[in-house]
């Protein structure tokens, strides 16, 4: 355990040093923290309840263009778009976080076992990974959500059910090379159990890689959630960005040219995913210094 923490600390301090050097990575961390703060203080900065139908002087405010009172205007049902946007950060971040957590845990475990036990168990786990690669991602989520019912929990479950595959494959490849190293051999000779070798000796070495893949998975998960919500299969109780865009799509916001309704949610998704991908790219350079020399 001490060793794990040590490795973890080392990679964190490396990351901080790197962020100071790379402006782009720094920017993405700032974007990321910005959204995180928005999630936390959403109730404070959102002027309205996102579901509230706004009434003024006895008149409902349908399709209002942007104004000081309604920064991004109102929907066709008279709801404040800015408030929806602020609350929309929550579901997206939640899906991204939890799904990538599952991806890291499941993908790492499967990759480790598949790489360490090269016998029947390893073979089985690799075939399982192949199967996961053989299932079309978006169609699968759509079908599964309609089966399980639209909720954040089910969306996270469906996404995680397939997204671990990339992590598992890369971790297996890495484990295969590490298990041949002399320190693993030494541990084995000195009588360490398989579990001890896997989790104490091998895992610290592959942890940074699985975290990198986890961070990329976060981006894919957020995109997947927004797509599913956009198709109208999202959680009706949570106002995610994809849900806002679905609302605008079916309410003919496009033919009215209501840019204020369409552009902001998309920009939010894009910024968040971009920030994640940039951090991913940045950490790729910490993990594989060779790439940087290229």
């Amino acid at each position: 355990m001490k060793k794990v923490i040590e490795v973890f600390n080392r990679s964190i301090s490396k990351s901080i040093k790197f962020l100071k050097k790379d402006k782009m990575a720094m920017m993405s961390v700032i974007i990321y923290l910005f959204f995180l703060i928005i999630v936390i203080i959403a109730p404070i900065i959102a002027p309205y309840n996102p579901h509230e139908i706004i009434k003024e002087n006895g008149k409902y405010l349908f399709n209002q263009p942007p104004s000081f009172k309604h920064l991004f205007g109102t929907t066709n049902m008279g709801r404040d778009i800015f408030s929806q946007l602020v609350y929309g950060a929550g579901p997206s971040m939640l899906v991204g976080f939890v799904a990538s957590f599952f991806v890291v845990v499941v993908g790492t475990l499967i990759g480790l076992f598949a790489g360490y036990y090269t016998g029947k168990l390893g073979e089985f786990l690799m075939r399982l990974t192949d199967l996961a690669f053989g299932i079309p991602f978006t169609p699968f989520i759509i079908v599964l959500i309609s089966f399980l019912g639209p909720s954040i929990k089910n969306i996270i479950f469906s996404i995680s059910l397939l997204l671990w595959r990339d992590t598992a494959r890369i971790i297996r490849a890495q484990t295969l090379t590490i298990r041949e190293r002399s320190f693993v051999e030494a541990a084995r000779v000195s009588g360490a159990s398989d579990m001890r070798i896997i989790f104490i000796h091998i895992m610290p070495n592959i942890l940074p890689l699985s975290l990198l893949y986890g961070s990329l998975a976060m981006g894919w998960a957020i995109l997947a959630e927004s797509s599913v919500s956009f198709l109208g299969l999202g959680d009706p109780n949570s106002m995610s960005w994809g849900y806002i865009l679905n609302d605008s799509f079916i309410s003919q916001a496009m033919s009215r040219g209501a840019f204020y309704w369409i552009i902001p949610p998309g920009i939010c998704i894009m910024l968040l995913v971009m920030a994640i991908f940039f951090v991913g790219r940045a950490s790729e350079e910490i993990l594989f210094p060779k790439l940087k020399q290229q």
């Binding site: 299932i135 978006t138 759509i142 956009f230 040219g257 369409i262 790219r281």
Partner: protein, 325 residues
Amino acid sequence: MSGKWTYIRKRLFQMIIILWIIATILFFMFRLMPGNPLVAYIEPTFDKEQQDILMKQFGLDKPLYYQYIVYIGNLFRCNMGVSFFYGDTVLNILKRNLPNTLYLTIFSLIAAYIFGIFFGILLAWKRGTKFEKAGNIGTIITRSAPQFWVAMVLLVVFSFKLKLFPSSGTSNAGVIYANELQKLTSPDFWKHLFLPGLTLFIYLQGLPTLLMRSNMFDVMGEAYVEMAKMRGLSKWRIMFKYAARNAILPIATSLALGIGTSMEGNVIIENVFSWPGLGKTLVDAVVNKDYPLAQGAFFLIAVIMLFMNLIADILYSVLDPRVSV
């Protein structure tokens, strides 16, 4: 060479097993779906007797294992049943919609790869400049933007504001193409294809661009490129004649892979543009609880994707003899 054939045979066998597992998962998933599958097909006002007749007609009254055996047997004969919603056979509906998906995918993919190859070369050429940095960022932006949102923005601008392109479908209202040839030669069809194609293009071009760029960097370090530089050849010539020709090889693999991956991306785009392809069929079927059609569409998407992955693997092993199989 015999090793290669064993490899291909092994991969083919593996693909069939995966398809069988997918078919099995699909079968049980759709049977266990909540709600009576007949709800979507018949009026709730039908009496019990009429419902029973329809249940029998679709074989829904038999035990599950029996349904499963019939289902797998039928699948081998490409018989995927009758759509609850349309009343037509699933095979017919898929046959009608598959070409639309293929047109959308293939034309966008070709455009994306041609663009990506040249843009990748350009980025490699301008290595270390502001232009390369901007190009890299731009590529990541196109990957981060949700496809349906890009589609919506394009629709607002080009369809609703400028009125340059139609917003949905494959033809103007009332026009029905007699056959695929007539469709492909109709300028109207191409006009309808443009926006969904552009959306897919924007999404797809990132991969070949980044791939070409990094391949160029790899190749440019090789001895024969150094040699060409020493011989004092022009940069243009070195780039295109020496480096690009070799850097392009791995792109072929990713092209096959690209067809597979864009099949799943199509699901979203087709729904924004009401493009009558496999993805739209799938989502409509899921929403209508049209189980046979949803199953069939999903299965076909999986078949195409797996087949393309197989081709990519084979291409990879043929093009790069260093790959041990």
